[in-house]
């Protein structure tokens, strides 16, 4: 589904990603953990090219997004993303947020987009919020709308960039619940998070990143129960 090969990325003279290679299979849920500054968010943002990168290749369904001839907009249609700060469009209602891209990019009829939107809103438990503006929603509700908005494009893979980090503690659960449900339905997911409980319970594989490398990767049980690398041990001892 996604192949990352020797990915390197710098911000000026600061090398953020030093050499990342990883394969992600269809329907796999990969959780990326690591200390701040380890490059995990940057790694995620390279996958849909919100960040450009200097070296390496990322193949999404066989299409190399490092290739200048690749139409990145086309690739992004199939790669949903959920942000830490939600990034809902404040000038549009909840349902308009969800319908916008299916209508403008996928060229769906308004009717079809609305139907899909309402379906997704009930799925994330917000069927009654279709016509309100994002401003009137709580953080947890906003993030669930953001997930529904990404899903409306019927993506093949979903990227989650610390989706619960900006939430009040009591709202984390409702967002993780939606993500769990999504994983159960077989969505391919890459999740950058600090929620170790989620990683353990939902993840098929956990990547531990530090200093621009993937230091260790394993099944959650193995990685949390029996970390091999010193840096993994040090990190886990601090957070668990």
């Amino acid at each position: 589904m996604i192949q990352v090969q020797n990915l390197k990325k710098s911000f000026g003279s600061l090398e953020v990603l030093k050499d990342i290679s990883v394969n992600i299979k269809p329907q796999e849920v990969v959780v990326v953990i690591g200390p701040s500054g380890s490059g995990k968010s940057t790694f995620l943002r390279c996958i849909n090219k919100l960040e450009s990168f200097e070296e390496g290749h990322i193949y999404i369904d066989g299409v190399d997004i490092a290739d200048k001839k690749t139409n990145i907009n086309k690739v992004r249609e199939d790669v949903g993303m959920v942000f830490q700060q939600f990034n809902l469009f404040p000038h549009k209602t909840v349902i308009e947020n969800i319908m916008l891209s299916p209508m403008k990019v996928r060229k769906w009829s308004e009717e079809k987009a609305r139907q899909k939107g309402m379906e997704l809103l009930s799925k994330v438990g917000l069927g009654d919020k279709a016509d309100v503006y994002p401003d009137s929603l709580s953080g947890g509700q906003k993030q669930r709308v953001a997930i529904a908005r990404a899903l409306a494009m019927e993506p093949k893979v979903m990227l989650f960039d610390e989706p619960t980090s900006a939430l009040d503690p009591e709202m984390v659960g409702e967002v993780l619940g939606v993500m769990k449900q999504l994983a159960k339905e077989g969505m391919t997911m890459i999740v950058v998070t600090h929620e170790m409980g989620f990683a353990r319970e939902v993840g098929d594989r956990v990547l531990f990143m530090d200093g621009g490398y993937i230091v260790e990767e394993n099944k959650p049980k193995e990685l949390f129960g029996n970390p091999q690398h010193e840096r993994t041990k040090a990190f886990l001892s601090k957070i668990l």
């Binding site: 849909n48 919100l50 907009n73 086309k74 992004r76 249609e77 790669v79 949903g80 993303m81 942000f83 700060q85 990034n87 809902l88 469009f89 404040p90 000038h91 916008l100 891209s101 403008k104 990019v105 996928r106 953001a146 908005r149 990404a150 494009m153």
Partner: protein, 218 residues
Amino acid sequence: MDIRFDVIQDYLPYFLQGMGLTIGLSLIGILMGSVMGLFIALGKMTRFKVIQFPFIWYINFFRGTPLFVQILLIHFGVMPIFMSPVNPIASAIVSLSLNAAAYIAEIFRAGIQSIDRGQMEAARSLGMSHVQAMRYVILPQAVKRMIPPLGNEFIVLLKDSSLAAVIAAPELMYWGRAASGATFRVWEPYLTVALIYLVLTLSLTYVLNYVERKLATE
């Protein structure tokens, strides 16, 4: 000091006629300035330095030199290339539009850049092109923030259109000077003209406040 109301009375029809042109000049100026301003702002914000360059210098020139000088240059220098004899109203429209465009471009740029980066990223992550993201996500939000400074520019433009009197475009100030010259009076014509400008700008302020309130509650 005795006030000669008959001077005001005699010239009032001309003042009102001039007021019409003043309103017309500033309306066309703000409209054309907005269209060109958006274009210039987008040009200045491209990633390509070579394309940015002319737009940056357009803004530098029109903001960095007096409108008075621009009007004279355009009326006596540029316009004769295109028409003869030169119509002073046309010169005034061109000068005011070009000048306003430079200021409005900066208003657009500030408005667009004030929108959180995450909005563009979210739109792009949903598969929208840069143009689509601008059109459906960024600009609708930016325009709302641009209304107050744009209104301010409208007021400035309305007053600055009085400079067109110097090339004999028959707007309000032109008739003020004409009345003063013909009657050798100072207070009556100029105070009347000033009062008309004040009424215009205050009305405009009132309308703008209304629009702002309306947008704020939406």
